[in-house]
Point group: C2
Chain length 730, copies 2
Amino acid sequence: MCGLARLQAFAWLALLAAGVVAALPARESGGIRGFFPARAVKERELEKSFQQSPTPGRARLDVWALTSEPHVAGTPEDYRTAQFVLEQFRLAGLDAEIVEYEVLLSMPREVKVDLVAPVARPGPTPEGGWKPDGKLADARAIMAYNSYSPSGDVTAEVVYANYGVPEDYEDLRDMGIDVAGKIVLVRYGKCFRGVKTYVAERQGAAGVLIFSDPADDGYRQGDPYPKGPWRPATGVQRGSILYLTEYAGDPLTPGVAATKNAKRLAMKDAPTLPRIPTTPVSYDDATPILENLSGPVAPNSWQGALPFTYHVGPGTSKVHLKLDMDFRTRPIWNVMARIPGATHPDEWVILGNHRDSWVYGAVDPVSGTAPLLAVGRGFGQLLKQGWRPQRTIILGSWDAEEFGLIGSTEWVEDHADELSQNAVAYLNMDSGVAGSYFGASAVPSLSRLIREVADEVKDPATGRSVHTVWAAEGAKIRRGNGIPYAVLNTTLSAESSGARVGSLGSGSDYTPFLQHGGVPALDVSFGGPYGVYHSIYDSFDWMQKFGDPQFTYSVAAAQIFGLLALRLSEADLLPFDFADYADALQTHVEELEKELKQEPRVNFEAVHASLAKFTESAKTLGAELARASAHGALSAKQTEETNRALIDVERAFLIERGLPGRPWFRHAFYAPGVYTGYSAVIFPGVREAAGRKDWTAASRELDQVRDAIDRGTRVLNRAIASLIGPERRR
Amino acid sequence: MCGLARLQAFAWLALLAAGVVAALPARESGGIRGFFPARAVKERELEKSFQQSPTPGRARLDVWALTSEPHVAGTPEDYRTAQFVLEQFRLAGLDAEIVEYEVLLSMPREVKVDLVAPVARPGPTPEGGWKPDGKLADARAIMAYNSYSPSGDVTAEVVYANYGVPEDYEDLRDMGIDVAGKIVLVRYGKCFRGVKTYVAERQGAAGVLIFSDPADDGYRQGDPYPKGPWRPATGVQRGSILYLTEYAGDPLTPGVAATKNAKRLAMKDAPTLPRIPTTPVSYDDATPILENLSGPVAPNSWQGALPFTYHVGPGTSKVHLKLDMDFRTRPIWNVMARIPGATHPDEWVILGNHRDSWVYGAVDPVSGTAPLLAVGRGFGQLLKQGWRPQRTIILGSWDAEEFGLIGSTEWVEDHADELSQNAVAYLNMDSGVAGSYFGASAVPSLSRLIREVADEVKDPATGRSVHTVWAAEGAKIRRGNGIPYAVLNTTLSAESSGARVGSLGSGSDYTPFLQHGGVPALDVSFGGPYGVYHSIYDSFDWMQKFGDPQFTYSVAAAQIFGLLALRLSEADLLPFDFADYADALQTHVEELEKELKQEPRVNFEAVHASLAKFTESAKTLGAELARASAHGALSAKQTEETNRALIDVERAFLIERGLPGRPWFRHAFYAPGVYTGYSAVIFPGVREAAGRKDWTAASRELDQVRDAIDRGTRVLNRAIASLIGPERRR
């Protein structure tokens, strides 16, 4: 069945399935943080009702429909998925629309990676060569490429540079190896792939080949697909190499929405566009290149899992790399659904997931799209039962995330003022389900909410709460047999031990909300052994065999996603916890101080003093919120003012002029690391100045951190003042 | 040139070379610990003279001659090497003889390892198939086997059990895998190979295959031979699987010398003989077996470097293992040279190295035999210049070490009473040179002497002292790129950081001296990247390419070996340092206490009290020795009595009844671990009882430790009393 037919068939099946609602055992009611006692009872009923809505059968149908054909952003197939999502939202009874932007996307016309010496071997080998059903790989799949790589034609010797981070080039220098004019061969992992090109470009390399080493996501981790969930020999990781640590979104419209008539940069002036040709290869294609390198033996930590000793080169291996890329401004399509808030229409709770994929994208992103649709349907059902949310709920199906968080970023830039006023929180789900291990990253004020919601949802495999299993398994993942179960482009599970919530770096659509817009954000998912990321093997078949065979984790993901939104949309007092934020900042500051302890020119006294005040206010606020929540005796005005202040805290952490050298990133505490790309760097301004040993700048940036904390304290105090009311004020 | 001819040619070349003595810059003289001032000057001259004797050219000739043909213990080729060594000693002017014992050795008649399912593949593949010169491997090389494996014929499914230590079987049990009746496939490393069979036998396995994983000593460490020093695809590690943790030496004559008419056990009653067939295989042969295992994916730490995901089995792979072994009592030949002491003929300083090898044995043991010969020649030259050692020096070229430390053990058992009275120390060198990284293990009272001697000898590559380089490089080895440069069967370099001296476990000929006889012992060598251990590739060609291309480290090894002996043979007061011993015991006890801290039934108070007294006495003794050494005003009787006491200290650490269950091992502090075989277990009686959670026994064994310490203290006090003389006694 072709993809279009599958999508059409599905709409019909979905209508049939709509009647099936499984009965779940009743949960005891009780107090809920942020809810006045009377309303907590109603919230429990609402949540119970919502939790009964998503079903495995529906999830399976959604994944089946959305993985029916490759749907790269900006293509007709992608538009079909937008129409499908629009239709699902509308069938659910939601008010929904497609929002189009016009953005620069690059598509591959030709990719050649020919080994020309010491032996001739043309490449790349087409991915797969076979499908699960034994036939040839899908001709509709886009050839493996790195989007935004420039076109190029270069023949050069090769140097192996490990993961291609700056330390690797320092090691190469120690070995006497210069990469200027060479093609560097690096392996995926450790940092965002764009960083690899960014660093290689600054080293004077002529081109970059990025391969998937079986040590990292292939047979050294477990059996390759189709026997197991890991990357097979010809599997290639596609992906963008946009220099996202400068700014996210359309490369030509930084900071503004890429509408039809937006003012655009010339390509040559866009700082996020890489300048040297870069392309991904499978380890099958990397093997003859790597095996024929001479030069020093690579250090032990550089050795991967291919069956020979890795040398760094150069010498012997010579590669002809030819890329012909079609750069063009193309339309992309976000699908936006909106449920207006009955009481506070100008307080927005936003849920989002991207829809575009590199091939079928069963895990990335369809396993997050299915829960988004389930949440939409669940809310539609509640609406039919007469419910109206207190606050406005917005569901976003973002496009072109894979190219550089483009759909979400353009929308955020399009609604910058409203978001600044109205956004309560942004809840993200990218690859929602790749296994059974729950993981989360968030701003610290939302960690507690995630744990509370994880307490309400059942882990399908064990019947215990997701929180219980998360706390037990998180530790096990780290201890166990060392397999990094986390999806490779997030820092979720791999870094969490027990029920720990990680810091948000980048790699998904929360970035424009949090780091550009100062909107409190979180990201949740179920991870697992998953080596087929951004390859043709991330398919429905993979998902059925390994990721979520019963589609029950898709249901759990939807339950968590929806409950997070319901708590935030329905709470009388928004369930942020700033004492957790204070604790996190305390830890962050201590770590930074320890790192810089040799450096007397950076003085931490003022920050400590500010942080002590913030902590004090956060604790007072927490106690007052608990008291108010328990008594439920606040005036509407008090509640309104308090919530306004609670919403404003995160915005207070923005630095208006942005981070030095990258003004689009404005959060004082969190940014994607310039040399990591994915994982968060904390107090980025200070750390980056310290990295350059510019102590004057480091001190200045630390002042910015202190100011941000002080601004936060003032907002917390505003919340306290609203809460305690005029009669209890000193 | 055949081996015999090479040996004969060599004798002639050696005579020519004898005239060549390079002039070295004069060293400043100064105090030497243990020498009265006047005699220190003479010792400096003596050492200077000795250091000029060994030359790279001579070392090269020795290695060339001794690697001319495979010389397995008990074979005619082995006898030829004994004659060669005898001749070299005699040419040097030493009194030497061949000492024969008759011991049980097993030789292979047939070894078959046929994969019978899922595909048929007969094995094993002959090692090499090629030589450095491109021809077929040497037909004289003994087929790869594990000596003392019984004959057997078994066809069974295979289970992969990682390194085959007890924890691995616990993990298998957790996975629901039982190895009873199965052939276990284990990899070399982590413990003595005999332990692998010992544990598998107790698990009910039907047979054992031991393979060399390229992760451990092949391409994952560096380029395989002949491109690099690591093990190639068909390389096999031969070696004994005698259960040496029961007792060392001839399996049929425990505790007594294997003379012609010695009373012998029946084979069926010998507890050190394994009962299940075991044979080593290359990774080339292990690959199809391992690749076809089904069952659970092996834990991450069990994954080696072969290019597929390891499963534990059983299932699919079925192997037919057939071994036909020729067990027979055979003659072996130690070569013993003796230089009688002029002043203290009944105080013996013994140097030893084994001579038998598995194939050519360029590193193991020839790189230690060349220094032993160089020491013999150096001493011979000193004798010709009129020198007579103060104490008796004995040089031993042991046979059948590879089978189970047999030559040295039989000699120790043969001379038990004399050694108990006379032995000052035993200095061991096994694989003397595999690279440039100095490493040492010793009883703690000899650590300081090793450092002092390493100060006197120049590191050939840098011209700095071996001690300086050792201190710097030891740390680098651990830090650097993680390559375990140590020879795999010793705990030397890999465990030392900086100039640290390790504890003596087992794996070479110091075991009968120290752990059976209570003779203070040390082991020194230069290690390096060395993956061809016990294979046909451990050859002269390997040594010239990788191990010691200039044969300068062979010279340094001889200088260190000889200087250690000269310090011990010539000292006025023996240069033991018991404060170091006290420190080591202190650390050992603290570690043990920490391990058992959950266990209130084991009380450490008495041990601490005893150790405090020992420490106090050791410090006093150290001060008195320093004072006496500086003043040089002791009577001959005082000196004699003091040295007698110094000799007796180590013997005081023996437990007469031996360790529980293995009475041959008598040292209270050090034994080879039952489940490690090579590395030392400290306070073995206590730790083994604790391992069984038998706290009564653990307490009893701790009492034995305390008694040993107390006995040591009394001997230390005797030394103090002798030193301070009647006039200064209280």
